[in-house]
């Protein structure tokens, strides 16, 4: 999932304080799972903002909605008939949802309520860690299902480096060395011979270095 973190409420207040009526729009997908922008967080933020502005003598009206997704036309269309009554939208979706909302409702100011962090997993409730950087050329088949692009600080393709000590990365004692994980797993799978194979230079043009990316599937396109 895409992992996001709630923006500090002070930052949100500064963004919306001059509007009279706003819509807080949550998203039912990734940000719900990482407890940053689902229905519950929409309710909490709306309640907190209402109380804050009430104390300031500001009669701002705050409505709430949580869409199934903010990265698809069909769900964003659900607010087409009501969006004109708002001065601005505070979207708690990831950066993708915020942008799609802004593209679709061109004359409506849209503000982000979360900081979008990475694609990752829920290690335990309240702990999320990165697993994928969307490099566009998956090499997990060669690395025992552990991604050195997202999990190695240096994104090494032939690791580990000299900074790997007792299974930890030199940048933090809390961070496992991705290449130690890869070696351990390949050993477990009886595939250590794959580790001996030198990985060629990676084509980074499919990563962000090649500019904004696009996937077109003519077979499903209408």
């Amino acid at each position: 999932m895409i992992v996001a973190e709630k923006k500090p409420i002070e930052e949100v207040i500064a963004m919306v304080k001059d509007f009279r009526k706003i819509l807080i729009a949550g998203c039912n997908e990734c940000v719900t799972v990482c407890e940053a922008g689902g229905k519950r967080e929409v309710g909490i933020l709306a309640s907190a903002l209402r109380m804050y502005f009430m104390q300031q003598g500001n009669k701002m009206e705050i409505d709430e909605v949580t869409l199934e997704r903010q990265c698809d036309h069909e769900y964003l269309e659900e607010i087409r008939n009501t969006i004109d009554q708002y001065d601005a939208v505070l979207s708690l979706a990831c950066g993708v949802g915020v942008q799609f909302m802004a593209e679709k409702y061109f004359n409506k100011p849209v503000y982000p309520g979360v900081n979008t962090c990475f694609m990752g997993v829920t290690e335990e409730r309240g702990v999320w860690t990165e697993r994928c950087q969307g490099c566009g050329q998956c090499i997990l088949d060669r690395t025992g299902g552990i991604c050195p692009i997202s999990r190695c600080a240096k994104r090494l393709l032939n690791g580990p480096c000299g900074g790997s000590t007792k299974g930890k990365c030199e940048i933090s004692n809390d961070l496992p060395c991705a290449w130690q994980l890869i070696i351990d797993r390949l050993k477990e799978l009886g595939r250590l011979d794959e580790y001996e194979r030198i990985a060629p230079v990676k084509d980074w043009s499919t990563e962000r270095a090649g500019g904004p990316r696009k996937v077109v599937r003519e077979d499903v396109r209408q």
């Binding site: 519950r40 109380m51 104390q55």
Partner: protein
């Protein structure tokens, strides 16, 4: 036991304190409550294992939010007792009431009255 406790307290029954959400606490303040306290079972004695621990976390979250928006996190508190401790329930009610009286009324209630005037 027929114990007395302050009549300013409104009891909201939940199946387990694990049911209490941050939003329930915030809404109470939005509606004008001067304080909210959650009374759960003793830690380690939850029938649902972690209900009262979840409640404690949510009380902490609500406190942090209320501090940031100027209502005051000290208006929310978590208490733990066992179901056989009636006198302690009454003690906590008195303790919380005294604390809230010292802090004063909910600023949201005052702001609402001011806006309506």
């Amino acid at each position: 036991m027929r114990l007395r406790y302050p009549d300013t307290i409104r009891i909201i029954r939940v199946p387990c304190t694990g049911k209490v959400d941050v939003l329930h606490i915030l809404r109470a303040f939005e509606k004008g409550a001067d304080g909210v306290y959650v009374v759960g079972c003793m830690e380690g004695d939850c029938r649902f294992e972690r209900g009262n621990l979840r409640a404690r976390k949510r009380v902490e979250q609500a406190r942090a939010i209320l501090d940031k928006i100027g209502v005051g996190g000290e208006r929310v508190q978590m208490f733990n007792l066992s179901s056989g401790e009636g006198p302690r329930f009454a003690e906590y009610a008195v303790e919380m009431t005294d604390k809230i009286k010292k802090i004063g009324p909910n600023p949201i209630k005052l702001a609402k009255e001011k806006m309506a005037a």
